[in-house]
């Protein structure tokens, strides 16, 4: 039964309307709740704007995989796909 169900999902996918992706800026704007407007930081919460993209992406990936200990970012980072993390990092890195 399970196999039939999953096959049906796989087969249905090509015909499904392509899901519109979230705007990366919209995701980044949710960071401001704790990291402050334009992610400039509210000490001791880290400023994020303008940091190197690779650094930001690595921190998020490390939080997600529990390689970096944290209080809350581990829980939050697990909500995002690797692709979303890349877009978040890119958007934050481009901010001044």
């Amino acid at each position: 039964m399970k196999r039939v169900a999953s096959m049906a999902i796989v087969m249905a996918l090509p015909w499904a309307a392509p899901a519109l992706a979230q705007s990366p800026l919209a995701i980044v704007q949710t960071c401001y709740v704790c990291h402050g407007p334009d992610a400039r930081g509210a000490a001791p919460i880290a400023p994020l704007a303008g940091l190197p993209k690779d650094h930001l992406a690595r921190q998020m990936a490390d939080f997600k995989a529990d390689r970096r200990p944290g209080t809350i970012m581990n829980r939050i980072a697990k909500s995002y796909t690797d692709e979303q993390i890349g877009l978040i990092a890119e958007t934050l890195a481009a901010m001044k």
């Binding site: 705007s23 709740v33 704790c34 209080t71 909500s79 995002y80």
Partner: protein, 426 residues
């Protein structure tokens, strides 16, 4: 009949924005008028982000007071380690930095057909798009004995301001050895962890000042937000002080006698030295007066845009909205407001709204140096509504490690407040 009306509204909503209101060149020259009702976390953020996204928009914020006193951090006033003045947010930056027009007045009626908001002085504000963020109203008819007069004896302190200071004075005057009774409502209500944070920080005050005192909690519910973390903290920080009575054990309050400071529940009738009664709530009354609420008192919205299910060109955000798994919190309202700002801006440009980015964090202090949190990122779709992203989010670690999570989260609690008020009113 209802089906016909709904169909009509949907059709009108879909066609109305791009073409009728802004498509015609003559009208397109005028800046689209957006009215925001309510200057709390939701309304202020919506006004701010609308102007950030498009400085040409004519954005008017309607608020009955000159300032907004935040409910978040008002529990710390009750605990005696914060001044209520530190919770005051003004609209100065919205006006001077962001060009938001701020109108002082109480929205008393909304004509969603003519698209205008009536204020208490009879004046009217016309809108092309309306954002309704009225917060909550307290239901003074739900529990026999608890009305607005009773609230002067048994404060609810569930809207920050005079009620907060009244409850603080009562706690200061309470004799050592007295019982502080807290009555918590059934879901849904503003700030799900709020009653339990309040119990915690008042316990901290009593432990340090009136250590023979007790706290008795009557709860209409059988479970509550961050329950495991709160109860473990009560055990370790305030042993023997707090008794929590669940709804199934007779915690649901049947009536109160304000003159006697007594509470009657299935558990029994108990008299307190101070009683904090938090009544059931509804969406702010303007939402109900405008016909935006369901029979249950809350406003149904499209989970992806927060567009009202009841009226075209209207969005409802914050505590007043039914937002699926999102709690009624300042953080929720802030991120919902950004979703609405983006949806309105997209709509005015004739574009489809992008999928929303929704997030919540609720920090709570158990004592000034002991913080805990719950957080989630949410996915919103038309068919499934608003649900947490699976296998992520949730509450703070159950057993703190050597990094000192509780102390760190207490520091982040304070930083969160600075960040979100700047992102909402700054």
């Amino acid at each position: 009949m209802l089906g016909t009306r709904r169909t009509f509204i949907r059709t009108a909503g879909a066609a109305g924005v791009g073409i009728a209101a802004f498509g015609a060149p003559a009208i397109a020259q005028a800046a689209p008028r957006i009215v925001v009702v309510g200057g709390g976390f939701g309304g202020a953020t919506a006004a701010r982000y609308l102007r950030l996204a498009n400085p040409k928009l004519d954005v008017t914020l309607v608020e009955r007071d000159d300032r907004f006193v935040t409910c978040p951090f008002s529990n710390y006033v009750l605990g005696g380690f914060r001044k209520l003045d530190d919770n005051v947010q003004t609209f100065d930056a919205l006006k001077s930095k962001h060009g938001v027009k701020v109108v002082k007045g109480e929205a008393t009626a909304i004509d969603t057909t003519a698209r205008s908001v009536t204020l208490g002085d009879g004046s009217k504000l016309a809108y092309d798009k309306l954002v309704v963020s009225p917060g909550i109203d307290l239901n003074f008819k739900a529990v026999p004995g608890y009305d607005e007069t009773a609230a002067e004896r048994m404060p609810h302190a569930w809207k920050a301001g005079a009620q907060t200071l009244l409850l603080r004075r009562q706690l200061e005057a309470m004799p050592d050895g007295g019982t502080f009774i807290v009555c918590a409502p059934d879901n849904p209500f503003r700030c799900p962890p709020g009653p339990y944070e309040r119990i915690s920080v008042v316990a901290w005050y009593l432990k340090n000042n009136k250590p023979k005192s007790k706290i008795l909690v009557f709860d209409a519910k059988d479970a509550f937000s961050k329950q495991g973390l709160f109860q473990a903290a009560w055990e370790s920080e305030y042993p023997g002080m707090i008794t929590w009575v669940a709804g199934k054990d007779g915690g649901k309050v049947e009536s109160v006698d304000a003159a006697e400071l007594s509470v009657k529940a299935g558990f029994g009738t108990e008299k307190g030295a101070v009683v904090n009664f938090i009544p059931p709530q509804t969406a702010g009354r303007i939402a109900i007066a405008a016909g935006l609420a369901e029979a249950n008192g809350w406003c149904a919205v499209d989970p992806t845009t927060f567009a009202s299910r009841k009226a075209a060109n209207v969005h409802v955000i914050g505590d007043a909205a039914i937002a699926g798994a999102m709690p009624k919190s300042g953080s929720s309202a802030n991120t919902q407001a950004k979703v609405v700002a983006a949806a309105i801006v997209a709509g005015l440009e004739g574009k489809e709204a992008m999928p929303p980015a929704l997030f919540n964090v609720c920090y709570s202090l158990v004592s000034p140096d002991y913080g805990i949190s719950v957080t989630n990122v949410f996915a919103a779709t038309a068919d499934k509504g608003i649900v947490p992203v699976p296998n992520s989010g949730g509450v703070s670690v159950g057993k703190p490690t050597s990094m000192g999570e509780r102390k760190l989260e207490a520091e982040y609690t304070a930083a969160w407040y600075q960040a979100i008020v700047a992102d909402s009113w700054g």
